[in-house]
């Protein structure tokens, strides 16, 4: 069994190495005709970009992606610098007409995005030519290897039950060197994905056939991410099924997040795209879906006929009515640990790291400041955006609409939710984003704390303060602090994953939806003591 496990690990690592190594393969160049065609398609007016690009990338040299990217960016920079210089010159000459003319020649867009577009066309080589084989060598090997590593646990873990043995003895799960390596890899992955997608364009070639089959178009880096997300969640869900096979709540919950990820976040948007509709994730609620009310989205939706209008109405109802109503009945868990994609990854890939959330009081204070600030900022951003959209102004309340959107997308959307949110799993736990950053979680949390039927009930005086619940709370709630006082746990951050209840050795915790009366029940003396004393102390 252990042999199978370690064989699996080796196969997985080979798959991962090929996947990672594939970045460095292939060569990238375009013919002068292709470059002209591209510029024509894009409608660039710059008179020198064509020559610059031809000089830089219409070559017989076998350029790797890094060299290619750098040359493309140089060419665009060269063109833009040229017109910037002209602008400066005409400005100095106070030749306003001439100055104004120059702006049309400038090419906007992030350098790596421009380079990605070209790389997607310019790539050739083994990966591009053999996507099916490459799929098996990367995704295939990794999946098979990971499953071989995971499946023997059915036997190795022994009888069903909580088996957290050795978690704090292993480098991977106790912040050892393996954990740090994983962190570096994940952070690197997200930085490439979000900011340097051109470098990983080879990955998109691997998935081109699948993308074409699903939506008719070639794979983008976001398709790669979506596909990878589903694959990782599926494989790690198998791990969850085995680990918690005695616990039906965990099994149903895992199935639910997996379903919503694959069907709602991945398949439906892809199919919608293939039908010429705007691809939309029907479960992704604003303000987690922070760009829902951005001009471009509203514009695209209003231009998409009935379905676009439906999405606009649905998205609004989802946030204003469905989400809070469901939180009232079931707690925010219905979203955060049963439906949400971020939660889904946290509960599958992130499960081995759940113990690393900080339980200190200071962390709780920080959490409340940060997450509620993000909520306020996201709402503010949306108000500014909507005001500007309807009024045509560029800014509102002194805030520039484009600036706040760009800043939010960069800092919160990319860095916080992605690079930190997932990249930091192995060291800071699997819910960093959900706990400190997610504006939707903050909103749901407020409803859960003040108006909900959900709570975690503690079982009278049975708690022995062992601390398993607090240790394994991914949201950093000191569950024991409540349980040992016989007090129900009512906390805005609780995502209702149910692990505290699962790991409790004495059957003290139960997630429940019930009457709101008596939901919050601070106690001084616990059940089991003298009734007179309980009356005396608890009713004071």
């Amino acid at each position: 069994m252990k042999l199978i496990k370690y064989t699996g690990l080796v196969i997985f690592l080979i798959g991962l190495a090929i996947f990672t190594g594939s970045i460095f393969t292939g060569s990238f160049s375009l013919s002068p005709t292709e470059i002209d065609q591209y510029i024509d398609e894009k409608g660039y007016k710059s008179e020198i970009i064509a020559d610059a690009l031809k000089k830089n990338i219409a070559t017989d040299e076998a350029l790797n992606i890094f060299e290619f990217s750098s040359r493309v960016r140089q060419a665009f920079k060269h063109s833009n610098d040229h017109y910037d210089n002209l602008i400066a010159t005409y400005d100095a000459e106070k030749n306003w007409d001439k100055k104004g003319e120059q702006y049309q020649y400038k090419i906007y867009g992030k350098p790596h995005t421009l380079s990605y577009d070209l790389a997607k066309r310019a790539g050739s080589g083994f990966v591009k030519d053999n996507p099916a084989l490459m799929w098996w060598l990367t995704f295939g090997l990794s999946i098979i290897g990971a499953l071989l590593y995971i499946l023997p646990n059915v036997i190795l873990l022994g009888a069903p039950g909580i088996k957290n043995n050795g978690i704090y003895h292993k480098s991977a799960t106790n912040r050892g060197w393996i954990a740090w390596l994983v962190l570096l890899y994940l952070v690197g992955f997200y930085i490439l994905l979000y900011f340097k997608a051109d470098y990983v364009v080879n990955w998109t070639f691997i998935l081109d056939p699948i993308s074409k089959a699903l939506n008719g178009g070639e794979a983008s880096q976001w398709f790669v991410y979506g596909f990878l997300y589903c694959v990782i969640m599926t494989v790690m869900a198998v791990r969850m099924y085995i680990k918690y096979r005695h616990n039906k709540y965990q099994i149903l919950r895992t199935t639910s997040v997996l379903f919503f990820q694959i069907v709602f976040a991945f398949l439906i948007p892809e199919i919608m795209t293939s039908l010429n509709m705007p691809g939309y994730d029907f479960k992704n609620a604003f303000p987690l879906d922070y760009d829902f009310f951005f001009e471009w989205n509203i514009k695209s939706l209003t231009e998409s006929g009935a379905i676009g209008l439906f999405i606009l109405v649905w998205g609004t109802i989802l946030t204003l009515i469905i989400v809070p109503l469901m939180v009232y009945f079931f707690g925010k868990r219905w979203y955060c640990s049963w439906v949400c994609g971020c939660g889904g990854l946290a509960e599958t890939l992130g499960d081995p790291y759940r113990q690393h959330s900080d339980k200190s009081l200071n962390a709780w204070k920080l959490e409340r400041w940060v997450i509620h600030s993000v909520l306020v900022i996201s709402v503010l951003m949306t108000i500014v955006t909507l005001y500007c959209y309807f009024s045509g102004a560029e800014s509102f309340l002194g805030i520039n609409s484009q600036w706040i959107k760009d800043t939010y997308s960069f800092l919160i959307g990319a860095w916080f939710a992605g690079v930190i949110g997932t990249g930091f799993y192995p060291i800071f736990g699997n819910r960093v984003w959900c706990r400190f950053g997610c504006p939707l979680a903050a909103y749901l949390g407020l409803v859960q704390r003040f108006k909900s039927r959900f709570r975690i009930t503690t079982n009278g005086g049975q708690c022995i303060s062992c601390g398993n619940c607090s240790t394994y709370c991914e949201m950093g709630i000191d569950v024991r602090a409540y349980a040992q006082k016989g007090e129900n746990i009512v906390r805005s951050s609780c995502v209702g994953c149910g692990i505290c209840s699962a790991v409790c050795p004495r059957g003290v915790l139960k997630l429940e939806n019930d009457n709101t009366a008596g939901r919050i029940n601070p106690t001084e003396v616990l059940l089991g003591n003298d009734v007179d004393l309980m009356d005396l102390v608890n009713q004071k």
Partner: protein, 447 residues
């Protein structure tokens, strides 16, 4: 300002200190030689098993003590002079008190076995025991086999700890079936099978005769009393119960028996000296409880109670209905009220027993055979609600009524398969009743 000195920073002493602070402004000092900060003894096993780190066993962050002005003193108390109200600490220091509380807990029993103090022989109670175990049984190369002596709750926890590191375990149990001094036969037998299924070498009706040493004074083997068999091993765990940790009181005027003798107010024979928790011995047992109760929550309750007395509201220690819980490897156990094993079972106590076919869940319900009043329940593998049974016991429900409302007692996580229907059918068959499950939720029953 009155100076309250508490010896022992376990659950009893710490609960007391917290409650005194809530009620008053008195100066509070907690003395412990075991650890700097309060930790949960019950969680030591999870540290060894790698579920947690030692820091996780500490329920309060370090700043808590200073903020609440509870002084922590790491020291060992050598002697107590109650006349001058002074403690003699090791290293020659002394400390004066106005009120003294002894909350020193227990120590593992040793019954004079030859070799019981060898290297590699240990209990599983103190933080130091954990450190010892880590030293002598870090893995199965250094510890090729461990022998555990004593089939109680700590014994089975120690077995689980060692098994988690793949160390072969021989488990010597004096009784003819595991913990059958407490558990009824069916339950005890189920746990026997569960222990065996974890590949633990369970030896029932087996006593330890002696522990033998190698040339370095380390454990080499144990000899079995009944058969004379010699079992080689590197670690011996002594888990044959605990007794009050009160040797340091021998020279004082404080009256002791097995533990520190206290009245119902938790007062000793000396004014301003009290004892709580595992080390306190009631002059007369309370109800069916033992005079010394080495249970986590009774320590806590004594702390809650004594805080009132010390802060001017003198009240008796009156524990409510008996309850307890444990975990036997993978099987959780809870009990509410009294269900007796063969030993000590009163004549009027009748039992209903149900066991699931998977052999990991069972329920035993005790009731008065004449009046049919519900007396208690043992539940294995199914979680039940403390509040439900506490009310049932207070209101002295008829066992039939309890059976009817069994669904309301369930405390398993949502979506778990429910067994109440199965249970009540078995009950009907056994007793000739024709009861049906009520669907009323538990809060509505008592409303």
């Amino acid at each position: 300002m009155e100076h309250i000195v508490i010896i022992g920073n376990g659950i009893s002493g710490v609960t007391l200190a917290r409650h005194i602070r809530k009620l008053s402004d008195k100066k509070i000092t907690i003395i412990s030689a075991e650890s700097e900060y309060f930790f949960s003894r019950t969680a030591l096993m999870y540290v060894f098993m790698g579920h947690m780190t030692f820091e996780h066993t500490q329920p309060y962050e370090h700043w808590f003590w200073k903020k609440n002005r509870i002084d922590l003193l790491k020291a060992y108390v050598d002697a107590i002079d109650t006349d001058s109200k002074t403690l003699q600490l090791s290293e020659g220091k002394s400390l004066a008190y106005d009120k003294l509380i002894i909350a020193t807990g227990s120590k593992p029993n040793k019954f004079g076995w030859p070799g019981q103090d060898l290297d590699g022989v240990m209990g599983m109670y103190h933080k130091q025991d954990l450190e010892n175990l880590e030293k002598y049984a870090p893995n199965n190369t250094i510890c090729k086999r461990a022998v555990i002596v004593g089939g109680g709750l700590i014994g089975i926890e120690l077995a689980e700890m060692l098994v988690s590191r793949d160390i072969p375990v021989t488990f010597l149990v004096r009784e003819s079936s595991f913990w059958n001094g407490v558990l009824p036969e069916g339950e005890s037998a189920m746990i026997n099978r569960h222990i065996l299924s974890h590949h633990i070498d369970l030896r029932l009706s087996t006593n330890l005769k002696a522990i033998k040493a190698d040339e370095n004074g380390k454990v080499k083997s144990v000899i079995i009393e009944e058969t004379g068999e010699e079992i080689s091993c590197n670690v011996v765990g002594l888990t044959a119960g605990v007794s009050p940790n009160i040797d340091f009181l021998k020279s004082s005027k404080i009256e002791t028996g097995k533990g520190v003798k206290v009245n119902r107010f938790l007062e000793t024979n000396i004014a301003d000296v009290y004892a709580i928790g595992d080390c306190a011995e009631q002059h007369e047992a309370i109800g069916n409880r033992r005079p010394i109760e080495a249970v986590w929550y009774t320590g806590r309750m004594m702390g809650e109670t004594l805080a009132q007395t010390i802060c001017g509201n003198r009240i008796q220690y009156k524990p409510g209905h008996w309850f307890n819980s444990a975990k036997f490897l993978d099987i959780e156990y809870q009990t509410y009220g009294w269900v007796h094993g063969k030993k000590g079972k009163p004549d009027y106590e009748a039992h209903f027993h149900w066991k699931h076919q998977d052999d990991t869940k069972c329920v035993t319900i005790a009731y008065h055979k004449d009046t049919n009043v519900f007396l208690g329940i043992n539940t294995f593998g199914i979680r039940m609600r403390h509040e439900f049974f506490d009310t049932v016991l207070t209101e002295k429900w008829n066992v039939n009524k309890v059976m009817t409302h069994l669904s309301a007692a369930n405390f398993d996580p949502e979506f778990y398969k429910l067994h109440e229907k199965d249970i009540i059918e078995k009950y009907n068959r056994d007793t000739g009743n024709n009861l049906r499950l009520s669907k009323i939720k538990w809060r509505s029953i008592f409303a």
